[in-house]
């Protein structure tokens, strides 16, 4: 029985960071989308609605299989990215059904 404190080094920092990064990247994408919406940009910048969310989901999945505290971030990151995809899809669908011109 060891009650002594061992400094257990940074063995958990790497997985933790993947969830954190997932969340962070999703937040950046979301911020980009907000800017695009607020300046009424007609064509959404693909990096914010495709590349970055993909990366975020990838990192989030890594984060999911790691430690519990990272999991919260990973879940947020993945959820936000999925939201971005659904958002894009629904926007495309509804844009097409509004005043559609061939």
């Amino acid at each position: 029985m060891e009650l002594g404190i061992k400094k257990k080094a940074k063995h958990k920092s790497l997985p933790t960071i993947s969830g954190f990064l997932s969340f962070l990247i999703a937040l950046i994408s979301l911020a980009g989308l907000n800017v695009a919406l607020l300046i009424k940009e007609k064509v959404f910048p693909g990096i914010f609605i495709y590349q970055l969310p993909m990366l975020s989901i990838f990192l989030g999945i890594i984060g999911l299989f790691t430690r519990k505290r990272s999991r919260l971030y990973a879940i947020w990151g993945i959820s936000l990215s999925i939201f971005l995809f659904i958002f894009t899809l629904l926007m495309v669908v509804s844009s097409l059904s509004i005043n559609y011109k061939p």
């Binding site: 029985m1 404190i5 061992k6 519990k68 505290r69």
Partner: protein, 165 residues
Amino acid sequence: MELDKAYQENVNDLYRYLFSLSKDHFIAEDLVQEAFYRAYLQLEDYEISNIRAWLFKVAYHAFIDFQRKNKRLIIQDQIEERGNLSMETPEKKLLEKESFQLLLNDIHSLKEQERHVLLLCDLHQLKYNEAAEILNMKVNTLKSHLHRGRRKVMERVKERMMVDE
């Protein structure tokens, strides 16, 4: 800042509690961190009348959640623990710590609710109403759990003494 101070004073207490729950140094250390994280997540500057009891509550829930997520892990740990027990080498450990471990094993062999009641009330000296609040049970229920738990522990101690003799 006062909250920080109050939290700091309870770090060791919380560690001992979580250790007695998990019987594992690493898990306890992790859960202490988790408990403080949660404590801050839930409130940063509210006033709480009884910080110690409140922290115990947070720690208790942190442990329960941990247990739920890692069911298999815990069971394995316990098996390992018991394995260690059979190959006990008392000379390697201090007497107090050995007896503490025996006590812990006794308590951990109880039913879950009895175990939690005993850990809070006897090992960590929380008041009945505080413990009842943490475990979300009525004080009377808690008392009966406590009574039954204590008797069972004594039975085990007696059994052990008889074997020793």
